[in-house]
Symmetry: C2
């Protein structure tokens, strides 16, 4: 049994505003499945690299995502430790699975893998 931790409206509206952008909402939905690096997001969302970087920067500033550098790449993932994670999880559950976009990326050989 989980008790929901209430958020204040001030903080919540900031998070909601961040998700109130088509690109960022897509990024967050995508990252719910898998971590992705910037170039993968660029390919999937068909947007410029600086634009994607600016969006993930905002998500990072709000602690919605975390980053992890691996070689040349910087991988972004959902910050499940965040106070707003339950809200994020709840919101993204209303949107369609984005997995097929990552699968398409693999098919095109554009998936970044570092082992």
């Amino acid at each position: 049994m989980t008790t929901i931790n209430k958020l204040d409206v001030e903080h919540g509206s900031i998070v909601m505003k961040l998700l109130g952008d088509k690109t960022r909402l897509s990024i967050v939905c995508l990252l719910m499945h898998d971590e992705c690096c910037v170039c993968e997001l660029v390919e999937i969302l068909q947007m410029s690299q600086p634009s994607i970087s600016q969006h993930v920067k905002k998500l990072k500033a709000a602690e919605i995502v975390k980053e992890r550098r691996q070689g040349q790449w910087i991988f972004y993932r959902i910050n499940t430790d965040s106070q707003v994670y339950p809200l994020i999880e709840s919101i993204t559950s209303f949107f369609p699975e984005q997995q097929e976009k990552i699968i398409d990326l693999e098919k095109k050989g554009l998936r970044v893998c570092c082992d």
Copy 2:
């Protein structure tokens, strides 16, 4: 057992942007408990009447709220028939109950009642 109807990101981000404003998020949280007229929202949120009217207009345009005229007053309430209502309900559940603000209004004798 309820099956969640998925929303598309395009539509969802518009709704999220509307809730990404402190005033509108507060209004929606308040209306989850009770319908309110504009002058009650003005009093509770301590904002100008035109400002509140502009905000509820946007919420109405997105079909998040409905209006009902009663005499001089126009009461706004959550549109529970909307396709995005489950999302609204889910999001608002993360924020504190706003009931005490309506109770305070009653104590001050500022609650609008038409019978």
